[in-house]
């Protein structure tokens, strides 16, 4: 009998979920455990907001100090790829949110399908990002390049921020993909209970955050300086 079935039977027979194998010994019940896991992740996300916040603060300061230089530098980013990536991430945000919902309803097949879709979209995102990086390199758009095409000194500040922001975001995507991959494998092996365990919800929250950061990176790096 798998964990999932055991947990379900335990509950339908009138027992409480307290007997679930997913319950760690230091919690009273699953509700407390789930609350702890969710709150823990939300707090972690607040720290992530402040982590990226340091970068955004640098962007804000320099954009205010050098508005012209930033507008000029921002016009050089690959807006088409950036916008396609926005669409990809929004779609993956939908599939991830639905995966969380499906897990709450104990729909294993659906969870696996939706996670697979999320992973697929994330991989395409990274592929597009890689192609974009390749183009940027071709245009010498990195601050240490001797042939850096833009004259104004602050342009290099913008492009430093570009690499930092997109690079850190890509690392977060990678971590998210890894997490989804592990969960997909575990769901396939039926090694944890979808309803008793917080795993899918936690991964969904993290993925939502990665989405969120992109929603600000996208206008700051790609939509900036287009109205000429």
């Amino acid at each position: 009998m798998t964990d999932v079935e055991a947990a379900t039977i335990g509950r339908t027979r009138g027992g409480t979920a307290a007997s679930s194998p997913a319950l760690a010994s230091h919690f009273h019940d699953l509700r407390q455990q789930h609350a702890a896991a969710d709150l823990g992740l939300w707090i972690f996300l607040a720290t992530e907001i402040l982590f990226f916040g340091g970068l955004f603060a640098a962007y804000l300061v320099y954009a205010v100090l050098y508005p012209d230089g930033f507008l000029e530098a921002a016009a050089e980013t690959e807006v088409v790829i950036g916008t396609i990536n926005t669409a990809l991430l929004l779609t993956s945000g939908l599939s991830a949110a639905l995966a969380v919902k499906a897990a709450g309803n104990d729909m294993r097949r659906s969870v696996m399908l939706l996670i697979a879709v999320t992973i697929g979209l994330g991989v395409v995102f990274l592929g597009a990002k890689g192609y974009e990086y390749w183009l940027d390199f071709g245009h010498h758009l990195y601050p240490t390049s001797p042939d850096f095409p833009l004259a104004a000194p602050p342009a290099k500040l913008f492009w430093s921020l570009y690499w930092m922001m997109t690079g850190l975001h890509a690392i977060h995507i990678l971590v998210g993909l890894g997490t989804w991959g592990v969960i997909l494998f575990q769901a396939w092996r039926r090694s944890f209970s979808l309803t008793d365990n917080s795993r899918v919800r936690i991964a969904g929250l993290y993925w939502g955050f990665v989405d969120l950061m992109w929603l600000f990176i996208w206008p700051l790096l790609y939509l900036m300086g287009r109205a000429t």
């Binding site: 709150l39 300061v61 294993r108 097949r109 399908l113 969904g204 206008p219």
Partner: protein, 137 residues
């Protein structure tokens, strides 16, 4: 105490249990409201692109884009990250992140915006400083 929660209360658990096996093998969970939010997000993203390329705004288009981004972020948090049904303290946690970001931005800018002279003039590259010093001699 703060046990009053949450994503799934007991009744939900029970409904999940009595849901028959066929139902649990369905390919997709109920799509609303996530799908509706998704459509709204796409519409907002499209608006953002239009605003960005519309020349009437000039350099300030970015402010409009960021305002749209704030709305989109709120939608993602409330619906995709299920803040709608989460405990109040989780909303508080996410808000704390945003508020502290505002402190960081606000007090940092309090310095840069009140430095003497035009904005940005207090900062010179070493080369600019040199030329200026030479001109002064």
């Amino acid at each position: 105490m703060s046990h009053a929660t949450q994503h799934r209360n007991d009744e939900d658990l029970l409904t999940a249990d009595v849901r028959n096996a066929a139902d649990r093998k369905a390919l997709l969970p109920p799509l609303m409201p996530e799908l509706g939010v998704f459509v709204a997000l796409f519409a907002l993203a499209a608006t953002s692109v239009l605003v960005a390329f519309w020349s009437a705004f000039g350099g300030l288009a970015i402010l409009a884009c960021l305002a749209i981004a704030v709305v989109m972020a709120a939608l993602v948090m409330i619906f995709f990250m299920h803040l709608r049904s989460a405990m109040a303290v989780m909303t508080l946690a996410s808000l704390a992140g945003v508020v502290w970001l505002a402190i960081l931005f606000g007090l940092t800018m309090a310095d840069y915006l009140t430095r003497p002279g035009e904005i940005g003039s207090s900062i010179q590259t070493p080369r600019q400083a040199e030329t200026e010093a030479e001109a002064a001699n």
